[in-house]
């Protein structure tokens, strides 16, 4: 066995792709991916067969077909679940499970490790969202004979939201010590805490523009024609409502801009934290 000291190290990009490849193995061999596909399959099967089971006609408009099949609530839950399961413990598990002792002493920059793992998570959530949308879009094409461009735009927004939600999961995972805590916090931030801020803002008449979950509303809104606009129902003595009720709808442009902002900011913060984090204990 000769010692080889002359080997050229691969570029950062090659190392990033290696990390992505082996991290995808993790997802492909995990029960989490199987579980999320089972959930997807059950909901899609139910929603696609429900009109036939109830003896009602299927919509003839492809956009309406996709909107009725997917429902924004289900799409949102699926993306939150995906971000939780595939991003929530991506970083902290390396510390908690001690696999970092294997990976980190390698000649690889920490930001490369981070980006490689992020890319693998993005690819997996992209796969989950793609299956979800394209089953509905193709079923709609078969039933209605047309493909909805608005559904495809909604799909694009859903992919951006999935990346932003995963990035938030990576940030939480970079900060927290334990996997369980990171998974639970990611889920609750996306499913309850941010929506609670959205609700409070709306009740107070303040449009929650910076909120990720508020901006994700565009995923469902885009399939409504015409696109809904903000409005207020003013306090009215005759109807008995003692306060104004505000209805806010993010525009597609603000939705894309804010979600991209979340992707950028959360990942920058997460990389800084991950680079400074030490393998203690």
């Amino acid at each position: 066995m000769a010692v080889n000291s002359t080997r050229q190290l691969p570029s950062d990009l090659n190392q990033l792709l290696s990390i992505t490849r082996y991290d995808i193995f993790k997802h492909l061999r995990s029960r989490r991916l199987v579980a999320i596909f089972i959930i997807e399959a059950i909901i899609l099967a139910l929603m696609l067969s429900l009109p036939a089971l109830l003896g009602r006609p299927y919509p003839t408009d492809p956009t309406e077909f996709v909107r009725n099949t997917l429902q924004f609530t289900f799409t949102n839950i699926l993306i939150v679940l995906g971000a939780t399961l595939f991003a929530g413990d991506a970083i902290c598990s390396e510390f908690q499970n001690r696999t970092g002792y294997l990976l980190f002493p390698n000649p690889v920059k920490k930001e490369v490790i981070y980006l490689g793992k992020l890319l693998s998570t993005i690819l997996i959530v992209f796969l989950v969202v793609t299956v979800w949308y394209w089953v509905a879009i193709l079923a709609g094409a078969i039933v209605t004979g047309g493909v909805s461009t608005l559904a495809i735009e909604s799909y694009g927004l859903a992919v951006i939201y999935a990346i932003a939600a995963s990035s938030l999961g990576f940030l939480i995972s970079s900060i927290l010590k334990g996997s369980t805590g990171a998974l639970v916090l990611t889920f609750f931030v996306l499913f309850m805490i941010l929506p609670a801020f959205d609700l409070v803002g709306t009740l107070g008449g303040v449009e929650p523009v910076p909120s990720l979950t508020y901006q994700a509303g565009a995923i469902g809104n885009i399939m409504i024609t015409p696109y809904p606009q903000n409005y207020v129902e003013y306090a009215n003595a005759t109807t008995g409502i003692p306060f104004n009720i505000y209805f806010f709808y993010p525009t597609v442009a603000s939705s894309v801009a804010v979600m991209l902002g979340w992707i950028l900011v959360t990942n920058l913060m997460a990389i800084i934290i991950f680079k400074r984090r030490e393998m203690v204990g």
């Binding site: 066995m1 000769a2 010692v3 080889n4 000291s5 080997r7 050229q8 190290l9 691969p10 090659n14 190392q15 290696s18 990390i19 490849r21 082996y22 193995f25 993790k26 061999r29 995990s30 499970n97 001690r98 696999t99 970092g100 002792y101 294997l102 980190f104 002493p105 390698n106 000649p107 690889v108 920059k109 400074r276 030490e278 393998m279 203690v280």
Partner: protein, 312 residues
């Protein structure tokens, strides 16, 4: 030529002001096998973590093959293989896949990884489990895979942190055999341990550390020649009696007496071979019927204990 491992005033402070490594200066020469000895909490693992970029350095420098680890970890760790603590593996990968992963990160080609994987798995006696997922492996098996991944890319420097820790006696012997085998090659090896017999058995040089400070650094032979502190175990056919013991206590070189049973006692003794022979005669002269008179423990252990004692 640069020494492959250099530590200059290396210091690590943890939160609450605890200093784990305190101005450590150490230069490890090429092709040496250095044992890094110290009691629990001495700063061994912290030092190794700083060398492998798992911890940030508070002050001072750590160089691997002439490159500052803190400044350019990728370049510094390029020709380094490391087993730090007992690493866990990705349970969904097999040893072969793990080696492919680590090899790819090191820039090895696929045929090269395939050839080297076979070699290193054979070396650590894991060929039989090459394609079984690691999730089901015992600690000893994981430790052997850890050694394999540290060797896959033919590093010039190998850093091992208590490589036999937690292994059963058979596992320890197997890993030590692997370590002895590594000595035949052109590696520079830096291995922490608190097992003195292990270090004495496999290392050519020893660095002793306590409270984060270097106490001694020399070849094993040179350190052993410095040992004049011994613990002697004496077994007698008759009984220990007080008057003779009092006379023994004041004999030259006797530091302490420790009576274990009425037929056995230990003497902490400072002196060379000549004085030790005199001591035996003295014991016989005092009326003891000597059954056995021998050094207890390893010479290195005695040196270790005296250095640790004097550093505290």
């Amino acid at each position: 030529m640069e020494d492959p491992i250099v530590m200059e005033d290396l210091t690590k402070d943890y939160s609450k002001g605890f200093r784990a490594v305190d101005g450590l200066n150490l230069r490890i020469k090429k092709n040496s096998f250095v044992g890094f000895l110290g009691p629990n909490g001495a700063g061994k693992t912290t030092t190794i973590k700083m060398l492998t970029n798992l911890l940030t350095v508070t002050s001072g420098k750590a160089y691997m093959n002439g490159v500052d680890v803190a400044h350019d970890p990728k370049k510094a760790l390029g020709a380094v293989g490391a087993v730090v603590e007992t690493p866990e593996f990705y349970p969904y990968l097999t040893p072969t896949e793990t080696l492919q992963y680590m090899g790819a990160l090191r820039g090895m080609s696929k045929p090269e990884i395939a050839t080297r994987s076979k070699e290193v798995l054979e070396l650590v006696k894991m060929t039989e489990w090459a394609n079984t997922r690691i999730g089901k492996f015992s600690k000893g098996m994981k430790q052997r895979v850890a050694l394999a991944q540290a060797l896959i890319h033919e590093p010039t420097v190998i850093i091992l942190d208590e490589p036999t820790s937690g292994l059963d006696p058979r596992g320890m012997v197997e890993v030590r055999d692997v370590l002895k085998d590594l000595r035949k090659h052109d590696y520079t090896i830096f291995m922490s341990s608190h097992l003195l017999n292990e270090v004495q058995e496999v290392c050519t040089e020893v660095a002793l550390i306590d409270h984060g400070k270097l106490l001694a650094f020399d070849t094993v032979d040179a350190l052993l020649s410095r040992v004049d502190h011994k613990r002697l175990e004496v077994r007698i056919a008759n009984r220990v009696f007080g008057e003779a013991m009092d006379k023994l206590r004041v004999f030259e070189g006797v530091q302490q007496l420790n009576i274990v049973t009425e037929n056995q006692f230990f003497i902490d003794f400072k002196g060379g071979d000549e004085q030790q022979a005199e001591l035996l005669l003295k014991l016989q002269g005092l009326g003891y019927k000597i059954v056995s008179f021998k050094e207890s423990g390893l010479a290195l252990e005695n040196l270790y204990m005296s250095l640790i004692k004097s550093s505290r």
